[in-house]
């Protein structure tokens, strides 16, 4: 361990503790706590976006309103993720763990893709089912993460 101007090589036990401490700090930087309402709101917005797609052939004014609402909700999710996951106050450019992020994004993408594929075959209710399943996925992964990051 470093002591003033002298340096002694850490023992394996000290090295283990130092690495564990470094890993904990790195983890705490990447996995910042998010508000308790964060994942439920994201789940609800995703469900709403998916449900709007279940409206059978909206026409005219309803179509315009639907499109505006869907775009607005999509932008709100982007803003939430930016504010609470990527650019929290006090931090700049938190490193994103791309591996798990891409993996969960691909899994999440399967739900709307499945709805697109099954819409004509089973009916537009598949959008509501896909939205519900996606919301459950968000809550199932997000709520434990939120609890763990607040306890770290």
């Amino acid at each position: 361990m470093e002591t003033g101007d002298s340096w002694t090589k850490p023992t394996p036990e000290e090295a283990r503790e130092l690495l564990a401490s470094a890993n904990t700090e790195e983890h705490s930087t990447v996995n910042r706590p998010v508000p308790i309402w964060y994942y439920p709101v994201i789940a609800l917005v995703l469900f709403a976006i998916s449900s709007f797609n279940s409206i059978d052939e909206p026409a005219g004014f309803i179509r315009v309103v639907t499109v505006v609402l869907v775009l607005g909700l999509a932008c709100s999710i982007s803003a939430l993720v930016w504010r609470f996951s990527v650019n929290q106050p006090g931090y700049r450019g938190i490193h994103v763990p791309w591996g798990p992020t891409i993996a969960i994004t691909l899994v999440a993408a399967c739900f709307p893709i499945a709805a697109i594929a099954l819409d004509d075959v089973l009916g537009s209710w598949v959008w509501i089912a896909a939205g519900a399943a996606l919301a459950v996925l968000v809550l199932a992964t997000g709520v434990p993460y939120q609890r763990k990051s607040r306890n770290d």
Binding site: K9, P10, T11, P12, A15, R16, L18, L19, A22, E25, E26, S28, T29, V30, P89, G90, Y91, R92, G93, I94, H95
Partner: protein
């Protein structure tokens, strides 16, 4: 903690380490003096704040320290046990 972000504010570092302002300033100044850290004043919510970030030299030094610690553990794990003969 700085290795996983482009920058962290002084107040947040103080909050996470539990160090006093003066103690933290002393440590950070030493790191800035050797070129491992850089600081940047900015304004957020109407008040002046200090953002700290690792320099490329600092990131390399941190990576080197981590590698040295991992090598110590690797040597320990690969050294023959006195029981196995």
């Amino acid at each position: 903690m700085l290795s996983q972000a482009e920058g962290i504010e002084f107040s947040e570092i103080q909050n996470r380490t539990g160090l006093s302002k003066s103690a933290l300033s002393k440590h950070l100044t030493q790191l800035i003096d050797v070129g491992h850290l850089k600081d940047e004043q900015f304004v957020r919510s109407g008040s002046s704040r200090l953002m700290l970030s690792l320099t490329s030299q600092g990131r390399a030094a941190y990576a080197g320290h981590r590698k040295a610690l991992e090598e110590i553990l690797l040597v320990e794990n690969t050294a023959p046990s006195p029981m196995t003969r």
